[in-house]
Symmetry: C2
Subunit: 396 residues, 2 copies
């Protein structure tokens, strides 16, 4: 018998990925232009042209031994330093290359951090709704994920009082995701300060270290001039997991980094252990060519304006069809109330109109659905009459 | 307290990596040309020119959305098919793309396979000497690695009778590494047949499935016309983990694949679970650009002749200095007896002559050392007088 844990997962599958396959099936049947697939967070803005130029230039001008050879498991020192300096310029932090570990995306980063932190039975808190994959990452290291509901009445901002109550002596970490998948909410500076105060208080009471693991692939996707607070400045036991998947539209390339600040408890030990975790989990190091590429593209930006335009069109369209979306301030997701509260039925009914989105149950939060608007603006415009009909079916 | 397992590892470190750092330290002190660093398996033959050309061509000619976007967690279907067809042409196998999962190198492949197969307490056998990292990979999934000595009297070929005796009802897998790191031995077809027969017999007796996990990054590095048997043809419960790290000199890029044949017990379930493991361990998928690149370079070869020349020069030099190396038929490692049986003291003494190699204790096999000859031929020639002096110190 193979791993029992894995058999269960193989039978369960991923709801989001299943939706992705469903989209392909519908597209083959009805034609891609007649299917409105809002199910997956695959950026639809092409990577900036400089990405292409740098890849070519690196391939042309770098000795292949240097380009493709092994380096330290933490990544190239010059890349780590460049990342640290870029963060310092942008956020007034004080990192050096020693605080940075280059990783195979944020998913790789989260795994090495959790492997480094967790003893079996340790608890990790997360605000729901949340990206269910966190549960798998925590379970990989025999930790226990516990969800604390975000505040529905406060636009899905995190609830510091609820967090405070959920922390116990087994709590090793809190994963936050800001801007948030699936709600599109940006946690305000005020809320971050509240979270930090609650955790500081609880750490002092319990005499333990509780780490915030801040998963930030959507950091650069913020609208209306919103600031996304840099969490290490508010709470010293913060570890940041970053990825260029969304910010530079490179999700297939698996390139990101982890920040472990000097101020964090056991900082040096965590850095050493996380570098070893990077090696023994089989990542070994972040892909070499892409490390060099991102170091040359740290100031590149995706076209946030295009996502913003999608956001406005979809939000207004859904409102005028009678739906109740949460107005998103970041990421490329819209969180919409299921008209009769049944998110799964809502997602099923939408398929009749060739509209695909993901029920909130897949984010541990029934009653809502996630609509990913990282799609062509044209598709959004074409989908609105279908949404209108869907709303009419609900008597909206 | 962070993970106790990881704290121990952070304190232990990797002997091979420590040697690598030592090499850098000595180089700074004495000049790189006066240090003979044989410690690490970093290929010194540049990647074939076609790698560069393909990377440039892919970057120039592929739409960035297609090039850098998400794909199935198993990899691009066209890449998986191309790999299967290439294997079928070379080895007379009968794979399709469905049997192939693209991975973040062989280390990533081994991790997803072990996560897929192991329940806590399951045993994994390996022939010693072996790459100690296997112990970490197995331990990641709460398995127990047990070493079976290879036959020293039979030139470190695997010992089927010893394997048979070591298998019990908890044995889930046997990792073999062919050509072998650290011995440079190629397991002969006869030995593979003996291993297969022993495992078939034991499976029948116990009523269990026992998988061979064949770790094959050195497959293309075979000398004197030696054939490296393709294990799936001899034993149906075989899973192959491959990497282009050594065969195309791309260790920093982390690109490889896993083969799960239809004939293996629970094949379809293992494929599904391994694809999920690829996702939830945080690999998500093998790096996108490098997948496309290798698909275009499946017939490329590294310059095995250059390694062969190194092999001859080093072997003859060591022999004439009085040492006793095992004549290697594959990979780029030479396995050499410590003159007085103390491999750690031998490695220490060698440092006096600025020679760096790894004690066999780091491969669970004291009494020998590993000399990695993936270095410049010139360095080997320059090192021989130093080896001569080292031999004289032992009275050779």
């Amino acid at each position: 018998m193979i791993s029992e844990k894995m058999i269960k997962m193989a039978e369960g599958g991923s709801a989001i990925r299943a939706m992705f396959e469903e989209g392909n099936r519908l597209s083959q049947k009805y034609g891609r232009e007649n299917v409105y697939d809002f199910s997956i967070g695959n950026p639809n803005i092409p990577a900036p042209e400089k990405i292409r130029e740098e890849i070519i230039s690196i391939a042309e001008n770098t000795d292949p031994m240097e380009l493709h050879g092994y380096m330290s498991n933490a990544g190239y020192p010059f890349v780590r330093s460049a990342v640290a300096e870029s963060l310092n310029r942008r956020f007034g932090t004080n990192f050096t290359g020693e605080n940075i570990i280059m990783t195979v995306g944020a998913a790789g980063g989260l795994n090495i951090v959790l492997k480094t932190l967790l003893n079996p039975g340790d608890e990790v808190l997360v605000f729901s709704p949340y990206f269910l994959e966190y549960g798998n990452y925590v379970s990989n290291y025999d930790g226990v994920l516990k969800a604390v509901p975000a505040s529905e009445t406060d636009g899905f901002q995190p609830d510091a009082a609820a967090l405070y109550s959920a922390v116990n002596e087994k709590t090793k970490a809190v994963i936050i995701n800001n801007p948030n998948n699936p709600t599109g909410v940006i946690y305000s500076e005020e809320k971050i300060k509240e979270l930090a105060a609650a955790l500081e208080k609880r750490q002092a009471e319990l005499g333990t270290s509780i780490y915030i693991i801040s998963d930030e692939p959507y950091r650069e996707l913020a609208y209306d001039g919103a600031e996304v607070p840099y969490i290490t400045k508010y709470y010293k036991n913060t570890i940041v997991c970053y990825s260029w998947s969304k910010s530079l539209s490179l999700p297939g390339e698996r390139i990101g980094y982890v920040v472990i600040p000097n101020d964090a408890d056991d900082s040096a030990l965590i850095v050493s252990a996380a570098v070893i975790a990077n090696r023994i989990l089989g990542f070994v190091n972040a892909p070499a060519l892409q490390q060099r590429m991102v170091a040359a593209c740290l100031d590149e930006k995706t076209d946030v304006g295009a996502y913003d335009r999608n956001r406005q069109t979809l939000y207004n369209g859904l409102k005028s069809a009678g739906f109740e979306p949460v107005y998103p301030s970041g990421a490329f997701y819209m969180w919409v109330k299921a008209p009769d509260g049944d998110d799964k039925a809502f997602s099923q009914r939408a398929k009749k109109y060739n509209i695909l989105f993901v029920p909130g149950s897949s984010f541990a939060c029934p009653g809502y659905v996630r609509i990913a608007y990282c799609v062509s603006h044209d598709m959004i415009v074409r989908s609105l009459p279908a949404f209108k009909k869907l709303g009419e079916e609900y008597g909206l």
